[in-house]
């Protein structure tokens, strides 16, 4: 029997360690107990997979330490088994990048090798020339998954042709978009797939050094990568004369980021690797010509590289059979926000947005209505319900004003205020601007001030036009993608939810009842005087005798909504 506990960051956050310890304490005979990465169904964590000796899987979900004894008893714990509808979610996906996540032990290279790991790399160096490798990637149509969707082969080829002996293969694992976590999951669940992808890329472009730039906020990912690199070194995939081939050298190390969103931009990332402030610079020269310490450098995203071993092993056709002509293959999306089944899903490009959110994501929490989905993070935009039939691929999503980006999908319902959402993103980009360009540094601040004014009921009639004008200037007057795309959340919310802006400005009301300056909480006659709300209120703004109707002191109220959550009698109104 093999028992695997889902132990990604998400699993641990849900309590996987305690579950693991509880199983260990049972000291089961003939049981191989181990950790695996995240299978993507974060809403079901902690997950325990039990494989019997025939290799058949029984998957238990929401497992608590107390459940463990029952699972391994003779009676079993069928009530903890995964539901058919949840299992179905896995079946609707096409898992290329995530094929091993949640299945193999990420801390053992043997497990990766057993499922065909490093075969692709061996095939490349033994049977293919670097040009052949590039041609295969070209035939696969693989596009960068880090945001821009740039063809991977083109960058590899440019770096290959660029003169210079000392070339670098860099992996961008900075994953800055708040709300996206597929890169983390790959690093934690299948780190060897990334290493193999980097090895192949390095072989194709002639790089002898690789660097993985990981966000500092991902300590577990860094730990698993360190283990994986050590094992790959011991197995002879990293080092000198790899696999006995004279002159085939590759060294690989990790560099931890230090918390700056802009360092996800490739030229800023290079500056950061060089130990400088992470400020972007003008392109050209492109990194392929002048990158890390002026050497030819290629930068790819984690997911891009994790696709590479699959393509080389199975051929480009195996990849292009999925997805659309211009966006072949699959893409991982992070479903979060007001969605029922939040987690990571890998789908063929071109699937309608509606299917992703309703079929796979299980629709909206608490039976509320879908309002919009934010795609592409702070550089992207909101897509409204009317466009739910848009196919999810690079071309179609751009037409809506959003971008595929790194694949974050933050779902919002009618309780999310779109003006406040735009304010939230501008607050982020304004803080993360590196300050080099005036339009980005000052412009985002001015946009933010206007949005703050609108969300606090002090908006002016001319504000929407002023916003549109400023947005245009900021995107035109900025050097890097951060500034160029910062206005997108504002532009898309004005485009699709202009009436909400107008409500704030003209009527002083927040449609979603979220902007605290524009709402008031009051208690209605349903109140039976149970005192629950008065006890819950963090600022003691609610008073009243037991069994008498209570009242809220509007001056003291901070509109945190605590009373609404607490009240069981529907006695609190928001206006």
């Amino acid at each position: 029997m093999r028992v695997a506990v889902g132990a990604g960051s998400c699993g641990y956050a849900a309590g996987a360690q305690k579950v693991f310890d509880a199983i260990k304490a049972l000291d089961l005979p003939d049981c191989k107990l181990e950790i695996v990465g995240c299978v993507g169904m974060c809403y079901l964590e902690p997950i325990v997979d039990v494989y019997n000796d025939k290799g058949e899987l029984a998957r238990y979900t929401h497992v608590q330490p107390d459940d463990v004894a029952a699972i391994f008893s003779d009676e079993g714990a069928d009530d903890k088994l995964i539901l058919a509808e949840d299992e179905e979610i896995l079946n609707t996906q096409v898992r290329i990048v995530l094929r091993n996540c949640g299945i193999i032990n990420p801390e053992r290279i043997e497990d990766y090798v057993e499922v065909g790991g490093y075969e692709a790399f061996k095939k490349c160096v033994q049977e293919m020339s670097p040009e052949d490798v590039i041609d295969e990637i070209k035939a696969s149509g693989l596009r960068g998954r880090g945001g821009a969707g740039f063809p991977a082969w083109f960058k590899w080829n440019a770096a290959r042709r660029s003169p210079g002996e000392d070339k670098y293969m860099v992996c961008n694992a900075d994953e800055g978009d708040p709300g996206a976590f597929m890169d983390r999951s790959i690093l934690e669940g299948d780190p060897h797939a990334l290493i193999e992808g980097m090895l192949i890329g390095a072989y194709a472009m002639g790089a002898k050094t690789g660097i993985i730039y990981v966000r500092a906020e991902y300590p577990l990912a860094i730990k698993r990568l360190e283990i994986a690199i050590k094992q790959a070194r011991e197995a002879g995939f990293i080092g000198k004369n790899i696999m006995g081939i004279e002159g085939l050298d590759f060294d690989l190390w990790i560099k931890a980021g230090a918390g700056a969103f802009v360092c996800g931009e490739e030229t800023a990332l290079i500056a950061s690797l060089e130990g400088e402030r992470g400020m972007p610079r003008l392109k050209p020269p492109f990194p392929a010509e002048r990158g890390y310490f002026a050497n030819p450098t290629n930068i790819n995203n984690v997911e891009t590289l994790a696709n590479v071993p699959f393509i080389l092993r199975n051929g480009a056709k195996a990849f292009t059979q999925y997805g659309t002509e211009k966006s072949p293959g699959t893409k991982i999306f992070a479903l979060t926000g007001k969605i029922n089944k939040g987690g990571l899903v890998e789908i063929p490009m071109g699937m309608p947005l509606r299917d992703v959110i309703f079929k796979i994501g299980g629709g909206i929490q608490n039976n509320r209505t879908f309002k919009a989905v934010q795609m592409g993070g702070p550089s992207g935009g909101c897509i409204p319900a009317s466009l739910l039939d848009t196919p999810v691929d690079y071309e179609h999503i751009v037409q809506t004003g959003a971008i595929v980006g790194s694949g974050g999908m933050v779902v919002m319902d009618e309780t999310t205020c779109m003006v406040e959402m735009a304010r939230f993103f501008l607050d982020f980009t304004c803080r993360e601007s590196c300050g080099k360009c005036t339009y980005c540094r000052v412009g985002t601040k001015r946009i933010l001030e206007i949005l703050e004014r609108i969300t606090t009921g002090k908006g002016k009639e001319t504000d929407i036009d002023l916003l549109l004008e400023l947005c245009k200037k900021v995107s035109e007057g900025s050097l890097c993608g951060l500034g160029q795309t910062a206005p997108n959340p504002v532009l898309t919310t004005i485009r699709y939810f202009r009436d909400e802006y107008e409500d704030h400005i003209k009527n002083g009301t927040c449609t979603a009842k979220q902007c605290t300056a524009l709402i008031a909480y009051t208690i209605n006659d349903n109140c039976i005087g149970c005192t629950a709300c008065a006890r819950a209120c963090p600022v003691s703004a609610i008073s009243g005798k037991v069994k008498n109707k209570h009242e809220i002191d509007q001056e003291a109220c901070i509109r945190c909504g605590q009373c609404i959550t607490t009240c069981r009698f529907n006695a609190i109104d928001v206006s």
């Binding site: 960051s9 956050a13 983390r184 906020e217 300590p219 230090a258 400088e276 926000g337 901070i558």
Partner: protein, 173 residues
């Protein structure tokens, strides 16, 4: 200002700069190593003491202004000591949409501190982050190595109080 200055000097006196020597030896001559050196410095002291920046500049042969420039650019680096428990509250998009504001209010009310501040007893420091990578379990916070998911204002307050009580028990007065 005066008292602030004194306070700083006091901190400065406590710093044993020699703790940095192994780190500086390790990175001597390695180009582009300012960031890892600062990260290890912060691991040692919990923050970046002023004196350490001058010391690093001297040893790495860099201008102090450059070291300071790098240290202030990145959000990870702190120039002030932090409390015993560092609360990293996520205000990333997913957490924001799922009500992280209310969690922040609850923490601020309970501990009477705001973003970047430390409680008077030196127990807790609050830092607002932009995504911890557990977005589907939003809202999320990390305290030390531990991640807490699907927070509600009540569960948050309970976590903080439990931590405080546990500390009390561990250090009987």
């Amino acid at each position: 200002m005066g008292c602030c200055q004194d306070h700083r000097d006091e901190i400065r006196e406590d710093i044993d700069l020699q703790l940095l020597d192994p780190v500086l030896d390790e990175y001597k001559g390695v180009r582009g190593s300012v960031i890892p050196v600062l990260q290890k410095t912060q691991d040692i002291y919990g923050y970046l003491p002023r004196a350490s920046l001058s010391y690093i500049a001297e040893k790495l042969g860099e201008k102090e202004a450059k070291i300071y420039g790098v240290a202030t650019f990145y959000a990870q680096f702190r120039m002030e000591p932090i409390g015993e428990h560092l609360i990293m509250l996520c205000q990333g998009t997913a957490c924001h949409v799922n009500g992280a504001d209310r969690i922040q209010m609850a923490i601020e009310e309970e501990l009477k501190i705001k973003d970047g501040e430390t409680t008077e007893d030196g127990k807790f420091t609050l830092m607002i982050m932009a995504c911890l990578g557990c977005c589907s379990l939003a809202p999320v916070m990390m305290i030390g190595e531990e991640t807490y998911a699907k927070l509600t204002p009540e569960s948050t307050v309970k976590i903080l109080r439990d931590l405080r009580n546990r500390d009390h028990k561990e250090v009987p007065e």
